[in-house]
Point group: C2
Chain length 129, copies 2
Amino acid sequence: MLIGELAERAGTTTRALRYYETQGLVRPARSASGYRVYDEAELRVVREIRSLLAVGFGLDDIRPFVACLRAGNTSGHVCPDSVAVLRRKLAEVDAGIERLHAVRQELREQLAHAIAQREETCLRSRRTR
Amino acid sequence: MLIGELAERAGTTTRALRYYETQGLVRPARSASGYRVYDEAELRVVREIRSLLAVGFGLDDIRPFVACLRAGNTSGHVCPDSVAVLRRKLAEVDAGIERLHAVRQELREQLAHAIAQREETCLRSRRTR
DNA sequence: GTTTGCCTTGACGTCGGCGGCAAGGTCTAG
DNA sequence: CTAGACCTTGCCGCCGACGTCAAGGCAAAC
């Protein structure tokens, strides 16, 4: 399988695949003419990368998962390093949710305050008429 | 007030203040020798910028608030444009919270699955001994 | 007068995950 | 033999809010 086909099957682009390679996440074989050649295992790796990216992981976070897959596991999640990352990310997400809730609260207050101010101004202007 | 003092009083850096100026958010007067000179109103503007940045606004989103302050309002939130931005941001935050909840759910499932797999592997290895 | 400490503009660097383009090699069908 | 559809490497661009020099001017203290 060449890079174009892999890109299509994995739902990404050749550019991204070459980038993953520079980051040491994918290691294709090379044909005699220098073309990158991928097997089914690499397809699984790329799909793992994509699904983790979609969840908000960075490529650094993904590295352990790829290593885990390469070590022969059917899932990239079962290795200790992967689990550690999962735990950390979960904590990060929890923190993010909390932060957003605080922000949301703040925004609602500011909105309420702004609208109250506007109503007041509106009333005053009516009285003036 | 010169730029260094403003930076300190607003809890930011001179670099940031100059950047806000390039973005048209702050407009200091100039001394005879070309130094930027700020008054108290500009301090209020900068504090508004900072607090909105901290909440996750971009400088583009902040522009209406600054205009509102400059228009003579005591709060930058009371003008229609500001309220529109507040509403939009609130919606964005809500969307973000939802997304994070979905991600969180996914992470918990993956974690649970990974741990279950590891327990199973552990049990199998005990039986083999 | 000189040191110290502020100020000025300008230009390049950062982070992440690529996109886009150029110049060239390869492979296959007609 | 050639067209066109792949592939290669390499390098710059992007986004946003600045950080980090560099080279030089201005102000006040000693």
